[in-house]
């Protein structure tokens, strides 16, 4: 049985001034609240974009699982309107491109190869269609966020503090 006092690290990223791009930040707050109400130990980092020093946080001794929370782009009219979760594979080759962007797998590589830690990691995504400048979410994204309960219900019991399990 999972130790309910192990630390869940939530790393949410996005821009709350680019409408749906900030939905991951909102979802992270909701997950943190729900899990804390369940007496789970949670630390949340909400950032604009992922940066290398987050790897050290991920490699902390208390961290059992890392939950990256982001928005995923869906085409207008898509029926993929659910919050989704997928377990992240072991990192191998993930370098930044031309810009300043780093992904979860890059951070996992840093944690693994620099600090010798490979915490269980998941990517949880909210669907997004509107990335224009502004606050608030599109109807599709707001609808997905309102169904966090359904998402958690579909996940294995005790998720995310489980050793291995498939996504919904």
């Amino acid at each position: 049985m999972a130790d309910r006092r192990r630390m869940i690290l939530i790393i949410a990223y996005g821009n709350s001034l680019r409408r749906d791009d900030g939905a991951g930040l909102m979802l992270a707050e909701i997950l943190e609240r729900i899990w804390k109400e369940r007496n789970l130990k949670v630390h949340r980092e909400s950032v604009h974009q992922l940066t290398p020093e987050l790897a050290e946080l991920m490699a902390g001794d208390a961290i059992s699982v890392v939950i990256f929370v982001d928005t995923r782009v869906i085409p207008p009219g898509s029926d993929s309107l659910r919050i989704e979760a997928s377990r992240l594979a072991s990192p191998e080759d993930f370098s930044p491109g031309m810009g300043h962007h780093m992904g979860p797998l890059t951070l996992m590589a840093y944690a693994r190869y620099l600090y010798g830690k490979t915490p269980d990691a998941w990517l949880v995504t909210v669907p997004g269609i509107d990335f224009d400048h502004g606050e608030g979410f599109s109807d599709a994204t707001a609808g997905a966020l309102s169904k966090v309960g359904d998402f958690l219900e579909a996940m294995p019991r005790n998720w995310p503090l489980v050793e291995s399990s498939p996504g919904p």
Binding site: Y13, G14, N15, S16, L17, R18, D21, V47, H48, Q49, L50, T51, P52, E53, A55, E56, D70, R72, V73, P91, E92, D93, F94, S95, P96, G97, M98, G99, H100, H101, M102, G103, P104, L105, T106, A109, Y110, Y113, L114, L123, F131, D132, H133, G134
Partner: protein, 478 residues
């Protein structure tokens, strides 16, 4: 048959760079274009907001240099209220800005360019990545993280969080530094110096190996623009605008920043949303007004750094210029960046010994006194301009943001063309070419799409298209 090569990062939303290399009938490079979409939406988005909100809003343009936007915005707001901020506030703003340089330049050098510099441009793509870097140079990778953390920690101490600190305000700042934090900075400074010196040695040791790159990665004559102190020293926060020509002549010794429009104008191109600023007296046509900003430009235009270690390095840096002329290769942005980290650390060392940084008098209060406010400073990647027009109630009517990436736009295009001319062979879109073009852009450390982010790695999509629009070669890199 004329062809076009398109290097198109497949990203989640528009806003990232795309590179197209246009070939002539003979298969030689005729032109190169670096397409970017960004920022203009933010200017419109700010209209109708109250001016004191602007530092908090505009810092959210970027996750890497929010401090720069916050400070440029706060300076524009200072101008609107028409006050001189308290000396303590200016020193604290300088302190957080130096910390910003440390974290931003460390990210560029260690994490973004490190794999290319330490493992080689043509090394096996399977190993030329973060993991390859860590496996061969774990101490360098860890050092890069620690140096970045040092800068981030100071930002967090002052702004209460490290990414978007709502700290600088019209008329000053919200909070000073406390004694406990001063001690913490002082304790960690020696390691930050040590890491920077190691990085400098590392880069200089590899210069001979990168001689071809220094001659082909953006090595061209241009103008250079940036801020200097009133006596010509290296300046990152305030000061006067100086312009140097390709021969090293100072053609504008020190223009007050409020008059920036006398020397900088903006052109637009249909194929990019990024503006094309140019030196107005020289004009836009044929690249006459092309100028560079950022670390390379700042070290070219200043007469001295003003701190002992940075000045020692600056003297070495100047030897890279031929015949007493400016240092022309954009490859040397790397070196300039490290010198600026050293400069920032030395300035941090000075500032934490100044009693003003713990003073409680950190803000001047006033209402709207002027309809226009201009705030100009040097962001890590170059000159950053915020200009706001407000009504009598302080409501924003118009915003103009001229960001560092925009200032270097012409130079980035020219750099891509030069690299393509040197390394493109027929229709062979090699991994080496892709990486070199990417590195050419990375030299300028641009914020391509500061206000968004991508999931995972940015793959590349390369196409060669003939004059009939038919794809004759194509390559993807995941």
């Amino acid at each position: 048959m004329a062809k076009t090569i398109v290097i198109d990062p497949v990203t989640r939303i528009e806003g990232h760079g795309k590179i197209s290399i246009h070939l002539d009938q003979d298969g030689k490079v005729a032109d190169a274009r670096f397409h970017v979409t960004e920022f203009r939406g933010f200017e419109r988005f700010c209209e109708g907001r109250t001016f004191p909100e602007m530092p908090g809003i505009t810092m959210r343009i970027c996750g890497i240099c929010p401090v720069s936007h916050m400070l440029a915005s706060a300076k524009a707001c200072d101008a609107i209220v028409g006050v001189s901020i308290p000396p303590a506030a200016e020193k604290l703003r300088r302190l957080i800005n130096h910390a910003q340089y440390v974290q931003s330049h460390a990210l560029s050098f260690f994490h973004l360019s490190g794999p290319d510099l330490l493992l080689g441009m043509e090394s096996d793509p399977a190993a030329r990545n973060v993991v390859g870097l860590i496996q061969q140079h774990p101490e360098i990778a860890r050092s890069g993280i620690r140096l970045r953390q040092f800068g981030q920690e100071i930002i967090r101490m002052l702004g209460s969080k490290s990414v978007h600190p709502p700290w600088a305000v019209p008329g000053g700042v919200r909070e000073p530094l406390n004694a406990e934090n001063l001690n913490e900075i002082s304790r960690k400074l020696p390691e930050a110096f040590e890491i920077t010196e190691i990085a400098l040695d590392l880069l200089k040791d590899r210069y001979e190996k990168f001689k071809p790159e220094t001659e082909r990665y953006g090595d061209f004559p241009s103008l250079y623009i940036g801020l200097v102190t009133p006596d010509g020293g290296l300046e990152h926060y305030d000061g006067l605008l100086r312009v140097m020509d390709a021969e090293g002549r100072i053609i504008e010794p020190g223009l007050h920043t409020d008059r920036y429009k006398e020397i900088i104008a903006e052109a637009v191109e249909t194929w990019s949303y990024l503006k094309f600023p140019y030196y107005k007296p020289a004009g836009y046509e044929n690249g006459a007004g092309l100028y560079r900003v950022g670390p390379l430009a700042r070290l070219n235009i200043c007469d001295f750094a003003g701190t002992p270690r940075a000045d020692r390095e600056l003297r070495q840096f100047r030897r890279l210029g031929v015949g007493g002329r400016p240092v022309t290769s954009s490859f040397h942005y790397h070196y300039a960046r490290l010198i600026e980290i050293l400069f920032a650390l030395e300035r941090i060392q000075e500032l934490i010994q100044d009693p003003d940084v713990t003073s409680d008098h950190v803000r001047s209060h006033a209402g709207v006194n002027r309809p226009v406010g201009i705030g100009i400073m040097e962001a890590p990647r170059g000159t950053l301009i915020h200009e706001y027009n407000v009504d009598e109630n302080g409501i924003i009517k118009k915003v103009n943001l001229l960001v560092a990436t925009g200032n270097n736009n012409q130079a980035m295009n020219k750099t891509v063309r030069q690299i393509a001319e040197a390394y493109l062979s027929g229709n062979d879109i090699s991994e080496g070419l892709l990486n070199r073009v990417e590195h050419g852009i990375r030299l300028y450390d641009p914020c391509l799409s500061c206000s968004t982010h991508a999931v995972g790695q940015m793959p590349l999509h390369v196409q060669i298209v003939d004059s009939n629009g038919e794809v004759v070669a194509e390559r993807f890199r995941d």
